[in-house]
């Protein structure tokens, strides 16, 4: 999604300014600032899933319009995060969006999921059941690219190369091999790239945060070495069939000739949710 969100803040400010100038009072002009620093540490442990009877009782405290409004806020929150490919943490959602509505959390999530399904053709997927992290994936089957130009992020190409490399090498690749391969493609991870910017940071930080990649220490290495694997988002969002087709074109080779990869790509679960978004 495009950064259409910049204006939300400005509109809120304008509405407030207007309200203040109309009523000559600034009592409404309160901005709630969430303290930012503590959030990394604050975990999910304070939140317990409410029982269905709690939800039932909770629902009685709110009007249908209030529940709809809160659902819309949750949907917006997911969309904004999805724009940057950042997973939604349940703890953040509860603390900053649901707030007083936390005891009807399951009901709100049910409605948000229904909206994503029926209106946007998207699905909420839990990619980390321990920390309760969610992402949006496309439910619509892959189609050829739409006839109008989608603004593509240049880094998508870089990501695709790294994911391909990992997939072709059986699922895990030592860090150095990534840097060396990229060097052969004339992308030097140590230098600022014209299109990708800081390549090393994109791969070890941005893609990892977005859950496209996992960057893990290889046990018992001295000096310490790291390897890359596919992250949970890549597993649900990126088509291995597509990657094989891409490799086939690149090497002018039949995708079936990579027997193991071909089998894995066509083994069902991994074919699921490719998207052209």
């Amino acid at each position: 999604m495009e950064p259409t969100q910049l204006l939300g803040f400005i509109k809120a400010e304008m509405t407030q300014r207007k309200r203040v100038s109309n009523t000559q009072s600034s009592s409404q002009n309160k901005r709630q600032s969430v303290p930012l620093a503590s959030q990394e540490e604050d975990d999910d442990s304070t939140f317990t899933q409410p029982s269905s009877s709690q939800v039932q009782r909770g629902l009685e405290r709110f009007t249908p319009a209030q529940v709809d409004q809160k659902t819309a806020e949750v949907v917006q929150f997911f969309l904004v995060r999805d724009q940057k490919k950042i997973p939604v943490r349940r703890a953040d959602l509860v603390k900053h969006v649901l707030k007083d509505y936390r005891n009807i959390y399951p009901e709100i999530m049910k409605r948000a999921a229904r909206t994503f399904d029926q209106v946007f053709g998207l699905k909420i997927v839990e990619i980390d059941s321990k920390n309760h992290m969610y992402i949006l994936v496309n439910k619509l089957e892959t189609a050829e690219a739409p006839p109008i130009t989608n603004p593509t992020n240049p880094k998508t190409g870089l990501l695709f190369v790294v994911l391909s490399l990992i997939f072709m090498k059986g699922g895990a690749v030592r860090e150095n091999l990534i840097w060396n391969t990229l060097k052969k493609l004339r992308v030097d991870a140590g230098e600022k790239h014209e299109e990708f910017g800081d390549v090393k940071k994109a791969i070890t930080d941005e893609f990892v945060r977005q859950r496209y990649l996992e960057y893990v220490r290889i046990p018992h290495t001295e000096p310490v070495e790291f390897e890359f694997r596919w992250g949970q988002r890549a597993e649900v969002e990126v088509s291995k069939v597509k990657i094989l087709e891409f490799m086939g074109e690149l090497h002018d080779q039949d995708p079936q000739s990579w027997t193991q990869q071909f089998r894995e790509a066509h083994s069902g679960s991994s074919q699921s949710a490719p998207s052209n978004r």
Partner: protein, 293 residues
């Protein structure tokens, strides 16, 4: 970027306020027929047809693009219908979008139609009507940068010709209350705002992008009631335009509306006061040159 930088101010802006405001807006819009930013959805009959995958795919593409010109929207609609084997009626684009809008409305989103002030072409933009900064934690703009954008909007709205010079913007950067921006930082920020399609730039002068106008029109109308003028021809809000030079008249007409209105007329006269129209009459711009957003 710190994605925890999360700040939310919707609590005092509840659904009730929203609806009240929406109703007001609607009344305002009904008063001036053919509003620039009219909703493609007629709110009063939102029992539109159910949404299908073709609509969802259209919406997903709109989310990725933000704004598309009318011709592209038609092509996209056809593509989406063909992809999902849905019946496609070429002249029913607005109905197709209305179906989407009826389902988007509860999410405070909408696909709106509006005109480009540069070439007069119609565009469709996906706009977000939520007045929150739910958003700011993912925003690439810092507080003082947003403040400068606001000031630039002030300059543009209050100018005669809908433009702000880079000099004026740089000067207003000295008056920021949050945190001052250096000259080089301001220049860099302006480049980013153009790149992200909030502003257009031509020869050191900045204008609001089509998308920004479509999304912000209702707010600009209510915030700048005294400054804002509408185009005498199309009744949409007018920034870049020509102005009747008779002081008691002073109506505004968009450049593309000037081109269309005076086309083929021997002696251009103001449609309001009948005075001679002294400005150069631009050419009518044909659609389908890949147009600027």
């Amino acid at each position: 970027m710190d994605y925890n930088d999360y700040n939310y101010i919707s609590t005092d802006y509840n659904a009730h306020n929203y609806r009240k405001k929406k109703k007001q807006q609607q009344q305002e819009e009904e008063e001036k027929e053919g509003a620039h930013c009219r909703s493609v959805t007629d709110q009063s009959r939102d029992m539109a047809r159910p949404m299908e995958d073709s609509h969802r795919r259209f919406l997903q593409t709109m989310m990725a693009n933000g704004i598309v010109d009318e011709q592209s929207a038609r092509t996209l609609c056809q593509y989406c219908c063909e992809t999902h084997n849905t019946q496609h009626t070429p002249d029913k684009l607005d109905d197709f979008i209305e179906t989407i809008n009826s389902k988007l409305q509860p999410m405070f989103m909408q696909i709106r139609k509006g005109m480009s002030e540069d070439n007069g072409h119609q565009f469709y933009a996906l706009v977000n009507m939520a007045e929150t900064d739910v958003t700011r934690m993912s925003s690439d703009y810092a507080d003082n940068e947003l403040e400068l954008f606001r000031k630039t909007m002030d300059l543009i709205v209050c100018s005669e010709n809908g433009k702000a010079s880079s000099t004026d913007i740089l000067n207003s950067a000295d008056t920021l209350t949050t945190k001052k921006l250096k000259k080089s930082e301001t220049e860099h920020l302006l480049n980013r705002l153009v790149h992200d399609k909030w502003l257009n730039e031509k020869r050191g002068e900045y204008t609001l992008s089509t998308r920004c106008i479509i999304e912000m029109e209702p707010y600009i109308r209510s915030m700048y009631q005294d400054q804002v003028k509408v185009c005498h021809i199309c009744r949409n809000i007018a920034f870049q335009c020509q102005i009747c030079e008779k002081p008691t008249c002073g109506i505004k007409i968009h450049n593309p509306c000037v081109a269309r209105y005076f086309k083929g007329r021997a002696e251009p006269r103001c449609p309001a006061c009948d005075d001679f129209w002294p400005h150069e009459i631009p050419e009518v711009r044909r659609p389908r040159s890949q147009s600027k957003r």
